[in-house]
Subunit: 455 residues, 2 copies
Amino acid sequence: MIKKQRQLHLNLFVSPMGHHEAAWRHPQSNLDQLLDFSLYQRLAAKAEAAKLDSLFFADRVATSPNAAKYGAIGGYEPLTLLSALAVVTQRIGLIATVSTSFNEPFNLARRFASLDHLSRGRAGWNIITSGTDAEAQNFNYEQIPEHAARYERAREFLDVATKLWDSWEDDALVRDKEAGIFADSSKVHELNHKGDHFSVKGPLNISRGPQGRPLLVQAGSSQNGRQFAAEYAEAIFTAQQTFEEAESFYKDMKQRAVQLNRLPEHIVILPGICPIIGRTEEEAKEKEAKLVELSNPAHSLLMLSNRIGFDLTGYPLDGPMPQLPIQEVRGHQSRTNLIVELAHRENLTLRQLLERLAGGRGHRTITGTPQQIADVMEHWFQNGAADGFNIMPQLMAGGLEDFLDLVVPELQRRGLFRTEYTGTTLRDHYELPYPGSQFAETPVSTMTETNWYSA
Amino acid sequence: MIKKQRQLHLNLFVSPMGHHEAAWRHPQSNLDQLLDFSLYQRLAAKAEAAKLDSLFFADRVATSPNAAKYGAIGGYEPLTLLSALAVVTQRIGLIATVSTSFNEPFNLARRFASLDHLSRGRAGWNIITSGTDAEAQNFNYEQIPEHAARYERAREFLDVATKLWDSWEDDALVRDKEAGIFADSSKVHELNHKGDHFSVKGPLNISRGPQGRPLLVQAGSSQNGRQFAAEYAEAIFTAQQTFEEAESFYKDMKQRAVQLNRLPEHIVILPGICPIIGRTEEEAKEKEAKLVELSNPAHSLLMLSNRIGFDLTGYPLDGPMPQLPIQEVRGHQSRTNLIVELAHRENLTLRQLLERLAGGRGHRTITGTPQQIADVMEHWFQNGAADGFNIMPQLMAGGLEDFLDLVVPELQRRGLFRTEYTGTTLRDHYELPYPGSQFAETPVSTMTETNWYSA
């Protein structure tokens, strides 16, 4: 049997003006387009023309007057926007972030099944549990529930959602007009789920989507988050600052999957990278300096304080990062850890730390030529630290084109990335199996013959 | 001042195969298209070409194996589908039904604001409280909450949603790149709402849509439903079997609006009609007979039992409608009343009642020539029973074309319906005012000079 060369997977993390927190102030950014669908349609078309696996939108269900003052916020709800993008694109996967803490499984399973039908099999769900009090306060809570409690609810949520997606078997539809039989009712199942968080009778009120279930994506890196991802996730977005950390995370996740009787290649690991690309290294560094110059460190410090749940605003910008009571962090534990470790490892002042975080909030920034960026990607990919990357352009206007026009062709020249789509669904792109319905008498196996990961 | 002639408003109530319960079995229906977006896109394009005010999708958040056996069910979640239709249409309004009983105001207000931006001001919300135990059982309840309790929650839901839509004032966006100021934070408002059902801090995380708020639509006809509609609704869908009932409902709703200091023309009343159209009366009656022939009365009886919450399946099809304990109905009270009154007024057997309900579940069926149908519409419109109609074609393939190609031109010839759109938003089409933000110091008045209704 001829083994095909293992291929990188590339996801575009869309942020309308770009991921750098000062991107909106850049001369190239057009703020009138923040809610202009044609912007998103154009970005999606570019990513699709470059044969990327998928697009992805993050989400946060809160803002504040102060955040609106200093940042270009107030964009689309992800599933709404992806539903529209589904009908103006043909191949690229469409991944929406939605929280399990503030939604009902019936509603959400239905929306993802609808998106999967609408896109003909290109829906993906980035599962989050949400981590801030500000979000919880929009949903009847005083503060965000504890980390462990959120993951308990998320587990039950996934259990129910999976049953709902499976509640119509693949061959449930009969469509016999003569006999007046639309569906085989023995293949449409009630769940009668009664658990600690949810009671859901079922079945879902939409038949199974082309992918059976949407692609499940996760980004948690805490112990709870990793174990949850090992159980449910098929792709993982992760923030890793160094090769060593990325390698260790990669190995850990693949081992956890194997311990749960999953094939390691059925969990695709995608570290984030924030590329700043120049035709020369100097040009790249100039682009980076321009973005730093547009930043507002006092505001960034406030945002970082909100993010990690610890008030840093009284500390001098040119002093060191203080010690934090990490064990008391209720919200984004692992990201807070990463930030504190970065500051201490590299002995950064608060100002320097803010500059490092401004591009990707903890994701790795790579500033350089297309060859230098491709070298880092290839190194991580070929040495057990990544199956692909979550691309976070610092500017959407300009920065995205730089990546697609300069880095992608370089990866293709190296034989690391597809030059044509080989399938039609998001699962096809990520080489993930079709999940059979758990209610079917002979469920589809999740084992496939082609073991491309261990090549 | 020259008064323009008062114009009909026409909404297309979309059901993918048609509203008759046997439509899916008709030779013209293509069941493969139930989840085919191109079907919906084509229907929307036709309705837009005929200059209809809006499209509308009903919703119900439950089904059962038995319902799936005998009915072509399992379609799209309405907001998902309308988000996609928003970017392939230009003018027609897009109205989605969503329940206040099984959603969170923050999520829903955000989705409607997103749709309003995506469609450039064409979003509408048909507000329902849901009325069946089957739906409640998908959302952690044993049975559906009492009628009054559902409307209490709905009122608080609307209060919160309205504040969320208003939380960014119209002129909140500054977008000053040089100064690094995106929004005027004094014009972005927290709500700090704490009520019996919801605690929501706000602000919403998307800026105000082109319509300020989506068009609010309601269809309740019970006393609770009517009072709620008089307070919040800008358009009303209603099922009326006779001119006298429609006239009485119309008068009642306009009076309720006036008592709440609203202008009567700011509440647009749209009775449903199910047209079965032939070039001759005979042809229309043949079309109707064909649909009756395809019906399955035993299944229809079961569906009616579920709808009204009373088991009729033991009663003989050719016997009379039994007396029902109406006061015990928790769910769709007024519709159940209408059905019982219809059966008793016209002395119908159960079989005859089912035939009358098969087309529109209580909405008025009109079988005849385009002139006859236009006559009924004109009569209701000119004599205080309707401001327009909610059109429910019995077949989508064929029946919709009949209405658009034969009845709409007849209404246009009579000067009753527009031949071109005169505005761009759904509010423009319905001649409804732009609602200013309640947080603005000088709120926009809801009073307008043109009093077209009292002409």
